[in-house]
Amino acid sequence: MGRLILTVDDSSTMRQMITFTLKGAGFDVVEAGDGVEALEVAVGKKLDLIVTDVNMPRMDGITLVQRLRALPQFKFTPILVLTTESDASMKMKGKEAGATGWIVKPFSPEKLLDTVNKVI
């Protein structure tokens, strides 16, 4: 496999859960604690997928998606946003920004893997 996924979340517990699940499914994972750190981590890497939370300090997930899409390197890279709201607005904001899809929190590891497999 060897596919690389970047997971971005300010909650370390959440990051751990995601990393654990993805690694268990055979993916390689890199982590970042907010949007700014994510950009630093991402640049220069060949990422197959980015999974990002929305509400984060310094740079939120929506801005991160916009910034990533502006970089030629990540123009077509699948990006999933983690939303807490099940209502349409956050999904829509994510979509507007260029996100590929979303996962509504709370989610199970199975749901995470299902959704990841849907986009890459």
């Binding site: 899409r69 349409a88 829509m92 979509k95 590929t100 899809g101 849907k118 986009v119 890459i120």
Partner: protein, 699 residues
Amino acid sequence: MSDAMAQFRDAFFEEATELADGMEATLLSMDLESVEVEDLHTLFRAAHSIKGNAATFGFPEVAAFTHKLESTLEPVRQGTRPMTPDLRELLLQGVDLIRSHLHHARRGEPLPAKEQQGQETLVALLEADSGAVAPPPPPAQAPPARTVAMKGGRGFSIRFEAPTDAFRRGINLERLFRDLAKLGTLQIWPDLTRISPFEQLDPEDCHLAWDIRLETAHPQIDVDDIFEFVAEGDNLRIQPLAPEGSVPSLGEILQTEAGVSPADIREALSQQKRLGELLVDMGKVKPEAVNKALDQQQKKRNQAEASTVRVATEKIDRLVNLVGELVITQAMLAQASQQSNTMQGEEQMSAALLQLDRQTRELQERVMGIRMVPVEMVFSRFPRMVHELGKQLGKDVELVMEGQSTELDKTFIEMLVDPLTHLVRNAVDHGMEDKAERIQTGKPAMGTIGLRASSRGGHIHIEVKDDGKGLNRDRIYQKALDRGLIQPGSRPSDEELNLLIFEPGFSTVEQVSDLSGRGVGMDVVKQNVRALGGRIEVESQPGRGTLIRLVLPLTLAILDGLTVRVAEETYVFPLASVLESFQTRGGDVQTVKGDREVISLRGEFIPVVRLQRLLAVGSNQEASDRSLLVLVESEGRRAAMAVDELLGQQQVVIKSLETHYRRVEGISGATILGDGRVALILDVPGLMRLEAGAAAVGA
């Protein structure tokens, strides 16, 4: 379509209709000067839900159009586009179109061409009106199919147009087809017609579309799930394939066997003409005849649709419980009857009978309750109507409604629609003065129409009130004289004059408007209300306004009656029309004009009607010193009916005589008494007409 699916569709239509009604109510109640953000969110959510559900349940046209409204609303709720009166009008029209869409979709017909054009115009206006605002943001994601686990069928026919930004969002379309293929057998027809000409082509835009035939036993949610991130309401249409065993359509066979693309089949079908058009083209029938036939068909459909009633589940649950209790009572009775000769058995018997009595009464009430629906069902149309009327007539009108939750028999609701519509129209059109006139007379420029329903001691009152100029009784008097409705020189009371406006062809307006004033309609109000066993009251003060009150019985099916004996027969007077009953003393009843009898009661002469003679039962009652009289009133006229005995008051269940026998003048129906005998229910106005006829013949 499987039954389960059909059920969901019904639920979809009901929910969507409610959502549309909600949108209308929100739009109308909105204060444009200071718009509540929450209202905008409410509007948006409603449009969004209709759209999402429509797409889910396979009504792409509904979804597509609602999507337009939703896109219009998005910048409005974001605060980047103002809610103007014009926009409100457009959105109201939009709501109407949604309703029309739903109406036609429910019958499985396409939107009529005329409305289709209307829709295009409306959409153009909505988009044009948005002015310099940034292009509408990408539409919201249709919610994934509700958690309803639909039973899998044979598969689905899918039309999918990829979102334009699919590539830019990193969507892997290949993955999508791979996932679909995992569900079953796929047949795919790419549709390249949406690709722009080369010089306008943006390689990063996605213009691909596909027609897909998926044979699978998986339920639709699995398919929906695959499209989760790319479904935008109108770009995805999923329709179940016809169930196994049914004869496939020619198009379907050609698709599977000859590889004809669904797009081509759609185009071919769109060129097909309908039966009416073909017949007209052949010169076999006139277009008007076709239209008339279509209208007729529509009416039948409406009737079929109107004959259902929605019942709250708790009402039904209570009934189920009651039936359970009845079964227990029955067991108690059975047991008691076995030991009926013992003391204990007798006690048990009477306890059980008491219980049965209570349960039967409750069962009766609850079953009747099923027919009761809130008057809101009629009222809800009026805010819109008053709004439109006010605009049309250049009047500022406010509608104040009260008591919408008052419950009425469903039949009543249906029969009240026309009368109330007419009364409200009339109030705005004639009752209400022009703005200028109102200001001149020192009234607020904004007129108020009150619509109120309340329940009062066994009756329902529905009032339509305006604060306009009031009835012009002089003119009514003059008009009534001209039409010969009153005798010259007579001096009718204000109340009697007021009621004349309900006479056929009676209108005192010189200038007949489009809306009302033709004198057609007010008599319909009277007819319908009378058919419901109700009456009309009018209060009017010059310069202050008019109040029209419809007094209706609670339900048609049950009647509070006064049972009386006439000769050997039992009859029932509707208690509502009985004023009092009394025994005469010698000399009370006087004979005038040879054979007509009258009685003087508190200074008023009231005709005496001998029911034995009028109904031709028993040997004729002769005027005796001691007669038992029941004083009844109907439409302002009174009569004293002579009976032989008063038996009592009781609720009776009305059975139609017409259905079982035929119409009989003076009798409004029949009922079955406790002892199993049939008693006829007297129709008081009918009896008065009979008596008047008999007197005319006799004279």
